[in-house]
Amino acid sequence: MKRNFFVSFIVCLGLSLALPSYGATNEELEQDIKKLEKQLKKLKKKSDKRYKKLKSSIDELSSRLEINGFATASLAKADEAAGAPNGITDNGWSTQSDDIMGLQMSFMMNEKASYTIQMVSKHASDNHAVRTEWSYFAYQINNKLRFRAGRIRIPYYMLSESVEVGYSYNWVRPPTELYNLSSNNAEMMDLTYQHSFGLFNTTSRLWVGRQADIQNLGGGLEMIFTSDNIVGFTFDVNKGPYSGHFGALYVPKVSNTFSGSEEGQQVTALGGAAENLLQTARAAALDVDPMLAAFSGVIAAGEAADISYSLAGAGETTTDDIFASVDGVARITEGREIQHINSETYYVNIGGAYDNGTLQIMGEFTRFDIENTLLQGLEGGYLAAAYRVSDKWTPFITYSTTRTHNNRRERAVTNSLTEQLTAAYAAQYGALVADPTVQGIAAGMAAATSDPIWTPEYLVGATAGTIAAVTSGIFESVVSGFQIKSNTKTIGVRYDLMPGVAFKAQLDASEAEDGFVSAGGLGGPGNPDKVKVLSFAIDTVF
């Protein structure tokens, strides 16, 4: 007990001795702490200020700079080796056919002026290359008027401008009967006027532009085409669930420059056919001149009979043009360059849609004419319906069709030309049979093969048959090569995983009608007439 008391006394003493000195340090410390607190407050104020400044400048920047993107990942397979779009074949699943990635940056200079750039990478047609598809300056003049200048998508059809943004529609890809143009952008200026008449909202747009593009035709062949002074107009009207669209554009002149390489020689069947014709003649040791004379005879006969026909509805094409064209194709195979100048091209497009949020019906009809060329005008359209059965599932169906103009007339012309060529050749028949060279070859062949069939008549007749067949083939491929009449039936479903992500599955059954081809390569010699394509896609926007 005593001891305990003693210990606590010592401790107390020690503490009381120690405390005064500790107390003095404490006061100093407190002052130091107060000082430090002040400094800290100052610093905090400063950093808060800095942070606020930074935050507001970031906010300002983010409200001035908008970045948006879209992407499609796809999987597709066809039941035929040819005729399907985007390079889809029956050779395994194609993983790149409809793949696309787009990134858009839009910078607001102020409330009215902005600059937008959209870069797109398409796998199927472009080997992952990133291209600046859109790049334009926009100026909102007032609530109703807007001006833009730069690289902008040409509004050929109702959905042309948004065709790459898969998320914006139900299909994996829009009907390829219509949406198969690979070259869609122009340097243009446009003026858009938005006006509402009561509940009718209208948007009118007038634009002028210039287009220059290089298309890779495959096999070392390239086509550079330019068109200047394109003028276009679109009109859109909307009221509640109904909307309508009208578009027209006029191209005064298109010039195509083809350039090919030596490897391009095998590319054109037409060049091959012309080559065959000459080889057949040479193999038969025939003087080519009478044959060429026969050709000239036909051309002369055709011109005398005033055989000229319309390929594009309005322009007149003469037989000369056909041969000029054959000549042109032959020149491509020689690796030269040719320039083919078309005259006017017109596009007219009418579309309509009904969308009440559950039921969607959409249709579009378009027609284009090119004058004075072997390329023919096209007309086509589609009708689509979709029904949102739940928040997530939207099944849809589509029927689309396209055809070239005046098919029947052109066919009649082809037949008539072949007939006349055969007749012209027959007119030379007698002279050829009596020709000493032909008689000599026939006698030589008969002696060499010990076959009495080799008479001058047989030799000339066989050659005539070959020539008629080949010539007819040439005309067929010149004219029917461009004769399109095809349709596609589509059934599919869109599943909205979440806002911004949609999964789609689609089955297309396409066919080229009897004696016609499709733009996608159906029909014609060696090609299937029908193809079914099964496609899947995941579409995102962000």
Binding site: F70, Y169, S196, N201, G240, A502
Partner: protein, 143 residues
């Protein structure tokens, strides 16, 4: 017997829930100084989908949206725009990537919406009916 009671209470709760969610209404609001007295759902839809940029009287209109995930936004989309969130996204994606328009600016909630609308006569927005106060004017009430 016990199960039945339980079931009936669950049913009762569900019915209440259904009734209460069915009763939740959306109101479209403007600044009290805005001369507009009423709007139809179609007129409102035109403004919020960027189809028109002016009030029926020709005055400039700036629509303000609420952020995705807010009940008010979901109801507004369903009752006025007649689209779900995915359809709205698809609609705007078509306009954004063709340079034809962009979606309205967004606020976090009804409170921020009312605060903003009460300060600027050009603005138009929406909140749930029970959120509304005197600082703004109601021009449309959803069924």
């Amino acid at each position: 017997m016990r199960i039945l009671t339980k079931l009936s209470s669950i049913l009762c709760f569900l019915t209440l829930l259904a009734v209460s969610s069915a009763q939740a209404q959306i109101v479209i609001i403007v600044h009290p100084d805005n001369p507009i007295e009423s709007l139809s759902d179609e007129q409102a839809s035109n403004l919020f989908l960027g189809k028109t940029k002016t009030f029926p009287n020709g005055q400039t209109a700036v629509p303000i949206d609420q952020e995705p995930g807010n009940d008010a936004r979901t109801m507004f989309a369903e009752k006025v725009l007649k689209r779900n969130e995915s359809q709205i996204k698809a609609y705007w994606s078509r306009l954004i990537f063709t340079g034809k328009g962009k979606p309205p600016k967004m606020v976090e909630d009804g409170e921020e919406m009312i605060g903003l609308i009460s300060m600027n006569p050009s603005l138009i927005g929406y909140v749930e009916k029970d959120e509304v106060d005197d600082s703004v004017k109601v021009v449309y009430t959803s069924p």
